[in-house]
């Protein structure tokens, strides 16, 4: 029973366009959400996060939106660049979970020049 799901295993976008990566969760106890980016043969690197008390957080080209009623969050990258090509993981933390994260299965983003 995957509590965090990324239903799109891959996404292809043209350079300069917007990339939208989606994530759904089932556990209403999750109170903090993160996006990590992973290149091959490397560990995940933190990208952006959002607390459950907010519905939007922006950092440069990256914006995360949270819809609590729908238990859905999304990561927008605009404009997309070839260097953004990587696997993106959505992660969530539950209250009292010792800061342990539950990850989605990842979405591979390919940005074409």
């Amino acid at each position: 029973d995957q509590q965090v799901k990324q239903n799109s295993p891959s996404l292809s976008v043209q350079e300069g366009r917007i990339s939208i990566l989606n994530c759904d969760y089932t556990n209403s106890m999750f109170d903090y959400f993160l996006w990590y980016k992973k290149y091959p043969a490397e560990g995940p690197t933190f990208l952006i996060s959002i607390s459950s008390i907010k519905d939007k957080n922006e950092d440069g080209r990256f914006t995360v939106f949270l819809n609590k009623s729908a238990k859905h969050l999304s990561l927008h990258i605009v404009p997309s660049q070839p260097g953004d090509s990587a696997v993106y993981f959505c992660a969530a933390r539950g209250r009292g979970a010792g800061n342990m994260l539950t990850f989605g299965g990842g979405t591979r983003l390919m940005v074409k020049p």
């Binding site: 995940p44 933190f46 992660a91 933390r93 800061n99 342990m100 994260l101 539950t102």
Partner: protein, 113 residues
């Protein structure tokens, strides 16, 4: 000046053996974690550890045990290795409790034959 490092990078071993994977962080963090990324690419938390408590994901077999000689290290010991233990294991660290970003190591690719 790698922030979170793991050794070895690759580990190939026979079923039934006992092996250890080392993790070191030079970030001064006080909480460390182990994650397993299985063949389906899902990242799953195994342990969270700081100087106060060890939190274990209940799905982790007791053949797996974390050992922390000091705050900067959290090693993973695996006894009686099984074929299903083949995966990529990631170490991570964060500072303090609560909503803190975790920084990941590059991963150790374990193959059990």
């Amino acid at each position: 000046d790698t922030a979170v490092s793991q050794t070895p990078k690759y580990l190939v071993t026979q079923m039934g053996n006992d092996k250890s994977i080392k993790c070191e962080q030079n970030l001064g963090h006080d909480t460390m974690y182990w994650y397993k990324q299985d063949s389906k690419k899902f990242l799953k938390i195994m342990f969270s550890y700081n100087n106060k408590e060890l939190i274990i994901n209940e799905t982790v077999p007791n053949r797996f045990s974390p050992k922390s000689p000091d705050k900067a290290h959290l090693n993973l010991h695996i006894n009686s290795l099984e074929l299903g233990d083949s995966a990529v294991y990631f170490c991570a660290s964060s500072q303090g409790e609560g909503l803190k970003t975790q920084y990941f190591g590059p991963g150790t690719r374990l193959l059990v034959l």
